[in-house]
């Protein structure tokens, strides 16, 4: 296996890129070296998450979205786009069937698009452990937009909201009444809500229910209150705080028919609006900080566990387990004993 060249990746060599992704995915020493070498060149791409219950049309929508985004006009060169499509690993066999690509055939001939399927490999939360690292590598390779399609468990896929700048939640009529959506914590992570399959009966109902749910959460969520410091002329020398209401982001609800490419322009508009909103409100930077902090904490946890395992006295471990089973020691005390 020839060595993977990070400079070639930055210059757009796709074979080196693809091999780097595998190295990163497998957590090999070479993969870690590549990630370190390329990290300084990342931080430019707009990371967009596409999430929602199975079969709502995420892949079909990604296909249409990217097809439209790639249409060049004279003022704007088309953005380079990478797609990371995550599907579940079978917990029983460790294997995976990665089928999102089937819906993305329209993008096949386009060299400005790179599609990579990724198995979750046992990680919960809708994306894989190394999806963030994939984004770093693709970002450094010059992709302007990175779309991540999550597994679509329909459960709170918090991991994607940590990773992506913009989260699009795709719903479809006939999947229950939206209470499910709120239970699953889906509304909290949505920057944009899409009701796909708008050709199906019940689409308006779904959209209305989601709208009502959003409004209920609005007072606590939909507005950002900032404390602004105001000096008042009539009270010289005295400073006090007045809450200033700043319009926050209002989650739009859009209807699409992905299979016919309808409503996709509106979705692109909403995504671009959200991006501008993040930049002008400084939330972009804040999200980056949060994401990197979270990633760092996770890595430190991993390393600590690893170090602990390496220094572990197996015999002591077994004897503490034995005490635990006989209820001579509580789990908490056992853990302290072994740390």
């Amino acid at each position: 296996m020839p060595q993977i060249d990070p400079d070639a990746i930055r210059q757009g060599d796709r074979l080196n890129l693809s091999r780097a992704l595998t190295a990163v995915e497998n957590g090999t020493p070479e993969g870690q070296k590549l990630e370190s070498a390329l990290f300084p060149y990342s931080g430019h791409a707009h990371l967009i998450g596409m999430t929602g219950a199975p079969g709502t049309g995420k892949s079909t929508l990604v296909n249409q979205l990217v097809k439209l985004l790639r249409q060049t006009n004279d003022e704007n060169p088309a953005p380079k786009i990478a797609i990371i499509a995550v599907d579940p690993t079978s917990p029983f066999t460790g294997g995976a069937l990665l089928g999102d690509r089937i819906r993305m055939q329209a993008l096949a001939g386009d060299k400005g698009v790179f599609i990579r399927s990724m198995a979750s490999r046992g990680t919960l939360g809708g994306i894989a452990q190394n999806t963030a690292a994939f984004a770093t590598i693709l970002d450094s390779a010059g992709f302007d937009i990175i779309l991540v399609e999550t597994i679509g468990a329909g459960q709170a896929e918090v991991e994607i909201s940590r990773l992506a700048h913009t989260v699009v939640v795709v719903d479809a009529p006939g999947l229950g009444d939206g209470i499910q959506a709120i239970k699953a914590g889906i509304l909290e992570i949505a920057d944009i809500l899409v009701v796909n399959k708008a050709d199906r009966p019940g689409a308006d109902n779904t959209a209305n229910t989601l709208q009502a749910m959003l409004e209920m959460g609005q007072n606590s969520q939909g507005k950002l209150f900032t404390l602004g410091k105001h000096l008042r002329d009539d009270l010289p020398g005295e400073a006090f705080y007045v809450p200033i209401e700043q319009p926050g982001w209002k989650t739009p609800i859009l209807k699409t028919i992905a299979s016919e490419g309808k409503g996709v322009e509106g979705l692109i508009n909403a995504i671009q609006c959200h991006r501008s909103f993040l930049v002008t409100s400084c939330l972009w930077e804040q999200k980056e900080t949060q994401r990197l902090r979270y990633a760092l904490e996770a890595l430190i946890k991993d390393k600590l566990v690893h170090r602990w395992q390496q220094n572990l006295d197996e015999d002591k471990f077994e004897s503490v387990i034995a005490d635990l089973i006989q209820r001579k020691i509580s789990p908490i005390d056992a853990a302290s004993e072994l740390m």
């Binding site: 074979l15 595998t22 995915e25 957590g27 079978s90 066999t93 990665l98 190394n130």
Partner: protein, 135 residues
């Protein structure tokens, strides 16, 4: 949790619209712990090589029932070379007359499987060829 997994692309070049065989083998390989990418019907050699490149697969399985294997397989092999993917192991499944098999092997195909081949044989062949020592 990080580990190496065998990645396989199952592709259907050409115009026939039957992908039952392709799906059966895809499932069998998945059940054997591999990560299987399925691309759907009617793929051109270019699309197949492109997908193999992006997915960085170890193995490419071509399912061909149309009888056009003598044209399709060399075209795919050529594209793989062009993309620098000469280390991808290629197998062909489908209705391939005995007399055509040597020519396909000559083009760099590792194995040809006829209809009714036990999927476990394919699984074992792939594992042997990729990791003779482990896994």
């Amino acid at each position: 949790m990080t580990q190496r997994k065998v990645r396989v692309l199952i592709a259907k070049p050409g115009l026939d619209g039957h992908d039952r065989g392709a799906k059966v083998i895809a499932r069998a390989l998945r059940d054997a712990g591999m990560e299987v990418i399925y691309t759907g019907l009617r793929q051109t050699p270019e699309m197949i090589a492109e997908a193999a490149l992006q997915e960085n697969v170890d193995v490419l399985g071509l399912s061909i029932l149309s009888g056009a294997h003598n044209a399709l397989v060399p075209a795919v092999m050529e594209k793989l070379l062009e993309y620098g993917l000469d280390d991808v192991r290629v197998f062909v499944g489908g209705i391939i007359p005995q007399k055509d098999i040597p020519r396909l092997l000559d083009k760099g195909v590792s194995a040809v499987y006829g209809p009714g081949t036990n999927t476990q044989i394919v699984v074992a062949d792939i594992k042997d060829s990729l990791h003779p020592q482990s896994n």
